[in-house]
Amino acid sequence: MTADGQLPGQPVLPPAAAGPESSRTPDGEWLRVHPASPFVRGWVALAAIAFFFGRDLVERSLQGQPVFEEGFDRRAPWLLGGGAVVLAVAVLGFVLAWYFTKYQVSAGYVRVNSGLLYRQHRQARLDRVQAIDIVQPLLARIFGLAELKFEVADAGESAVRLAYLKIADARQLRATILAQASGAVAGAGSGSGSVGGLGGPGGAGPGGSAGPGQLTQPAPEAPEFTVLAVPPSRLIGSLLLSEQSFFIVVGGAASVFLSALTDNRAFYFYLVPAALGLAASYWNFFNKGYNFTAAISPDGIRLRYGLLDTQAQTLPPGRIQAVKIAQPPLWRPFGWYRMQVNVAGYGTSGNAVEGNTRTILLPVGKFADVLAMLSLVLPDPGTDQPEAVFAAGLGGFDSDGGFVTTPRRARLLAPLAWRRNGFAATDTALLIRSGRWWRELVVVPHQRTQSMALHQGPVARRFRVADLVLHTTAGPVAPRLTQAGLDEARQLFDEQSARARLARKRQTTEQWLRQVVPAVEPAAVPHTPVPGAPHPGTPASEARTHYQQEGQTHG
């Protein structure tokens, strides 16, 4: 295939040898994606060809001209021949790309070989999996197919994509990959023999006896437990009250006013394409955010959403690098919040729109939903009163909930937000809050801190304040503590280094079911769903997680 991301310089292999190189092939079976996938992938190209040849005919018939002009008899063979050749080349290209794409899951790795002229061999370590998505565009959905996207974080390598598989196969493959990645199944490539008897709920079972590389043993899908769902009415409300709507109203009013003032009707014409673009944008948000549900399983957080194109994301535990909870001013009367995350691989992959939707952890939700999601992201909040602390982070001022804010001497630098700008550190995460109107709370687990920096400019120095920036993987969340007092910032800089160091020591393996027991007993026991318990479809109100079972009520 000649898609992007090819490694040049690979030798051209004759078809006979183009399959797996038998000498290096591990035990796992090499498989091809579904035979229909070239057509599902290539339907855009086919549609373009049809459009190109069909447009002329349609235009002619619309103009009342004869559909075929006089010289058509002579040109027809050429036209038909040309069209057939283009079509054949396109179809052949897709079919060849399909033929030469093979994948294999074994011995702790996923391997994908692709390419006809430029062979590409991609190999991804399973224990480095950051996220697995199953994507179903509308056409693939009609055919019962799905694309499996697999994000790893090895040296900025982009996703491994398998398009398309039968939906059941895709789910099975996801379960297999997750079972290996979690360490529930032996042969995850780490070499250590002991499985440790930690077979997660439903994770190990029959798969536990599989030797390295023997992947044909199907791993059962991990049980799920629905945590919350976003009703469509709330989604529509959140879209209508978004910042975008605000600017539309202002922009529309301004242009109507201007056109009335200048008696110039041309303004209305500019509004038409703008309205079309906006409708498309709203539709996109609605299509992506529709039917959003979040569930928890031993494999991690499962997010499902989509109206026409559906997507199911799986974020294994501990893969979320940073969380941002934001509330635009128009959402405040309704108590709605939006949550976005940084996940390694999501920020750098593909186009911006896709990256945007994938990083949304909760498109719109109430405070209780936010707490529920936070309890999934951060099973151990590291504090006795998580609800009070997070409530203070979202809506509090000054030192509520143990936050340390910008000192009073620097209030001129942030006249509105100085009482909000602040931080609080729990045993497991650093909370940074900011914004008076656009309220924001950023949560960075100590384990996930990459590096950090103190910044101070000349103005900040006059007020003896400094900014602390935490560096995290690429994504929508950029944790920055603004205008903290110099002494507090300096102290935090030191303490945070120590906390991050301690957290890193506690976490020794990427295989989350083999996680060592934390040195410090967590304050609150993470909520673990009981396998087989009659929980499916439990409404979010009943499924409230432990944050609220602590007895604290949010006033």
Partner: protein, 170 residues
């Protein structure tokens, strides 16, 4: 104006080689003098009577301001180079820079994905190199310029060894 350092007290900073000032001077000359020369061209043309449009005051002011800024930057270079420092602590590497705009960064050894050594033509002539640290975050923009080549190699080996010993996942 005496400035209070923002970095934690009690750290013995390793400073970079004073020869790095020369590197910065060459970079400064290439960037700023070229800009001043280009901006002076209209003045020349106006004086020669080829151009009419930019009035003489404008044609003079723009390159003059540019020249002033360039000279100001030139004066700052030695201070800036002296402000660059790094310190190897038990578990992380501290890198600081700047006096007017200060920055102190801590990069844990366990988070380093790889360490680069870059040598430009001027640096090579002076026997210097630049060490760059990369973590999984694009925000980690930690570079230590102006290290003597031997010190750069030593630092890289040291960082690689310590990183391996403490390597953590993402």
């Amino acid at each position: 104006m005496r400035t209070e350092a923002i970095d934690p007290p009690g750290i013995a900073w390793q400073r970079v080689s004073p020869k790095y000032i020369t590197v910065r001077l060459v970079e400064w000359a290439l960037a700023n003098l070229a800009a001043v020369l280009v901006l002076s061209a209209p003045l020349l043309f106006v004086l020669l009577g080829w151009w009419r449009w930019p009035p003489l005051w404008l044609a003079t002011t723009v390159p003059a301001v540019m020249l002033l800024v360039a000279v100001w930057r030139l004066v700052l270079i030695p201070r800036q180079v002296r402000a660059i420092g790094y310190a190897e602590r038990g578990d992380d590497l501290l890198v600081r820079s700047g006096i007017f705009f200060q920055r102190t960064m801590a990069v844990p050894y366990g988070r380093m994905q790889y360490v680069d050594i870059a040598v430009g033509p001027v640096e090579r002539g002076l026997g210097l190199c630049t060490v760059k640290l990369h973590t999984a975050s694009p925000g980690t923009n930690a570079r230590i310029p102006g290290l003597p080549a031997a010190e750069g190699a030593r630092l890289r080996e040291q960082l690689a060894a310590r990183g391996e010993a403490r390597l953590a996942g993402l």
